[in-house]
Symmetry: C2
Amino acid sequence: MRATVIHAPHDIRVEDVPDASVQQPQDAVVRVLRACICGSDLWAYRGAAKRLPGQRIGHEFLGVIEHIGSDVSSVRVGDLVVAPFTWSDGTCVYCLEGLNTSCAHGGFWGSPGSDGGQGEAVRVPYADGTLVKLPADAASDERLLTALLALSDVMGTGHHAALGAGVAPGSTVAVVGDGAVGLCGVLAAKRLGAERIIALGRHSARTDLAKRFGATDVVAERGEAAESAVRELTGGAGAHAVIEAVGTEQSMRTAVNITRDGGAVGYVGVPHGSGTGVDLGVMFSRNITLRGGVAPVRAYLPELLADVLDGTIDPSPVFDREVALEEVPEGYRAMDDRSALKVLISL
Amino acid sequence: MRATVIHAPHDIRVEDVPDASVQQPQDAVVRVLRACICGSDLWAYRGAAKRLPGQRIGHEFLGVIEHIGSDVSSVRVGDLVVAPFTWSDGTCVYCLEGLNTSCAHGGFWGSPGSDGGQGEAVRVPYADGTLVKLPADAASDERLLTALLALSDVMGTGHHAALGAGVAPGSTVAVVGDGAVGLCGVLAAKRLGAERIIALGRHSARTDLAKRFGATDVVAERGEAAESAVRELTGGAGAHAVIEAVGTEQSMRTAVNITRDGGAVGYVGVPHGSGTGVDLGVMFSRNITLRGGVAPVRAYLPELLADVLDGTIDPSPVFDREVALEEVPEGYRAMDDRSALKVLISL
């Protein structure tokens, strides 16, 4: 089968790889219909996150069950399913409490020895614990299929950030990061009842989408100027709930500095760089909470799926470029140079 | 009047200073009966926190109202009162939500221009918002008076840490720091229903007190050995709720590393040192929350006071040395060399 492989920074290729197959009784094989490229894939693409030469890549996909192992009972061959960006057994103490990312049997698509999402098919360990079944007729609805793909990562991650930030009905929220996760954070905050949502971003295509998703204000400044702007918009206090969806020292520093005393930063940007941007002195004196991490999107999938299916939320507009599998390297280049927000891969 | 003054690191003196007096209609003057020395005073004593030469010091006291301004209505001359370690107006949005430490009119005893707690009397701004009235007959009960003094800081701070760590009935808690705040954290965790409380400490007098306060296990190791010991005690997982009551890079690193995935570090140790000890990579991958800061003890005073008065909690044993006001410099030396856990000042 064909799949995307990373050989070195900036060296992404689509190649022949061994066919995905059932290896354990709990496995399923999913024939991929839609996949995509994540902002976090760019850390590997740019060399900021190490990968072994020849490692597979991609962790977001939906598709149709092609094979199942003898122990799989929740899905059947032919079912349309979406996968969260990690697999998990669904039965351990962490999975039962909704922290599937800490499952002892869990793992990330594209880690050494596993299939990546950006390929024709994926072997899914612990299929019962991992996959979520979708309505069969969604396969013929292009827009819906795209929206459902967002549930594999960015929508659930934005939701995790909003929960971490403590978004509640009536909240004032600020969102640092205008990538797909930040935009889904806007959508998640709106869904949770935020009254005011301040999106930080300077690219009008993205901030326009933020407004469409529920942002009430846009701050185009950066650094200290952005902090001043958010303070001005909030009567000097800052936002009670702040979503950090970038993962750099500067973005975290901005997030902490625009948080209202007693508020929280919900962070989902994968931390990168030597400094953390976490100024404990500021956080201590103002009682700012830092809460977040890798999102257990599997736990959020049922409720978010219901809201996508009934039209309450539609994250599909975060995808602004579509490529075929063989064009994936071009998709990476487009995301790397920010000419694309998020690239959809149609198979 | 006589009061404690810090002139330079290790240069603490008891001197004649201007009498405390009512300067604003909201002020009261409290004649101090009991005060104490805080572990955080040692940061100033050791030069790690800057003070102006001649600045007053001490932020924990209880005593009798001697004068009140014309606007004071909640206390009268002769009332026995306890003060939290910050003053606050009691009416602003932060005070109303229980974050008195962020009150725009608030401040710390001993800050430039204000009286410190380690003196014969203290001018209390915003007396109605700040002071909490105690039963008059407590003045004749030495043990009770000592327990009530702990409400000015360490007991409320330990409670704040326990809340930040998310302690709930049945919790497994670990406490980093065997000072008075850490020990009060043990007591607070027990009060909140923790089932297992692991105290980290190597001084048997302190760990014995931790056990008396409710610790079920003691870990005497430090650093990585302590982390291993806590993991062993918790089936490899770590503690769901971790109290960080020191404020150094090493203590924070230990706290983060012994927290169970999905758990929280409740931190109240005043941050010191160049590094934070906050490893965002670890926190991110394990969804560990960091929550805490300077404790709004004024908000907690009513409920903790009720529990001290009815005997549910008794933090008085954290005081293991008693000095007169003129002996305060000796008290600092005793706490600095750790021969005293917490020094009570009787006037």
